[in-house]
């Protein structure tokens, strides 16, 4: 495996993985999968472009994971706020529960 490509992928993980939390491990696995696929095409036509595609794939996947994580967090937040509003409604009603 070309060391430059390895470094490139590692850099992408470092840059994007900082905020990934639990998804960081999943992203590392995805990057490893990309590298394994890239290894199959060493010396074949289009290898340099494929390396670029692998880098793009890791970067896109990282962004997608972050969005999914954030959406989940938002859903939890909305649920929490709904609970608080119910509490507020009860308080308005005189605390009767």
């Amino acid at each position: 495996m070309d060391q430059d490509i390895l470094n490139l992928l590692e850099d992408t993980i470092r840059q994007t993985g900082r905020d990934l939390g639990d998804s960081a491990q999943e992203l590392r696995a995805y990057a490893a999968e990309q590298m394994a696929q890239l290894a199959l095409g060493v010396g074949q036509p289009g290898f340099a472009d494929a390396a670029e595609a692998a880098r793009d794939n890791v970067a896109l996947r990282a962004g997608i994971m972050l969005v999914d994580d954030a959406d989940s967090a938002d859903a939890r937040t909305v649920s929490f706020i709904q609970g608080l509003l119910v509490l507020g409604a009860k308080a308005l009603a005189g605390g009767a529960a």
């Binding site: 990309q34 036509p45 938002d74 605390g95």
Partner: protein, 225 residues
């Protein structure tokens, strides 16, 4: 303050205190983390998609040229696709997610796949290396789906079999449905092949590929505008 007054005022005071506390917590939560999804879309996924698009665009343009050369599409269709390529570029540059939602990606995806296939045919790209290109196209689509809040696929169970509906855009969406046997394996790569080949074909109004190693047959109208 006498005892009677104290008894009347205290519950009211506690209620107000509770309300103020609840309001403060709600406002804090809203301010801190209520909009994480949109922020991550704008700050992370959008710039990433923007940086990747030039290379995906090359695949699309290659596909348009190849399709036009082989008369798979007319000059007018090619012009419309090129216009969408430019619209997509502008939407990404401007960070206009609403505009992204209105662009029909599926035909562009079809062209991108054709572009990669054309490079393989020309000997510029091996099959092994092309697989990473295909994955980039799929990842790019998934990124666009999230940026535009689009639903990419709905899978449900009916009569012991599953029906798959792929929604490609929010504006005038197109649908591809198919019959999947009950023992379908979601990880079967054949599903990916079917998806790769037929989703863009359906969007372009081309006949679906139903032969070969696809383990199920499409039974529904492939394109529904």
């Amino acid at each position: 303050m006498n005892t009677t007054t104290n008894c009347l005022v205290r519950p009211v005071f506690l209620r107000v205190l509770t309300l103020v506390s609840v309001a403060a917590v709600v406002l804090t939560v809203l301010g801190c983390s209520g909009c994480a999804g949109p922020k991550v879309r704008d700050d992370i996924l959008l710039p990433t998609a923007r940086s990747v698009y030039p290379r995906v665009r090359l695949d699309i343009e290659r596909g348009i040229a190849a399709a036009q050369e082989s008369t798979t599409i007319t000059a007018a269709q090619a012009d419309a696709l090129v216009a969408d390529v430019d619209r997509l570029q502008a939407a990404l540059d401007e960070g206009n997610r609403a505009e992204l939602a209105l662009i029909s990606w599926a035909p562009l995806e079809g062209m991108a796949v054709l572009g990669v296939q054309d490079r393989i045919a020309a000997g510029e790209l091996s099959e092994a290396n092309a697989s990473l290109f295909y994955q980039r196209i799929v990842n790019f689509r998934e990124a666009l789906d999230r940026l535009a809040n689009r639903v990419a696929a709905n899978i449900d169970t009916r009569n012991g079999a599953r029906s798959v509906t792929l929604q490609t855009t929010t504006g005038s969406f197109r649908v591809l449905s198919g019959y999947i046997p009950p023992d379908w394996d979601d990880d079967d790569p054949a599903w990916s092949r079917y998806y790769y080949h037929n989703r863009p074909r359906a969007a372009l109004g081309l006949p679906l590929i139903t032969s070969g190693d696809f383990p199920f047959r499409p039974v529904d109208v492939p394109v529904n505008n």
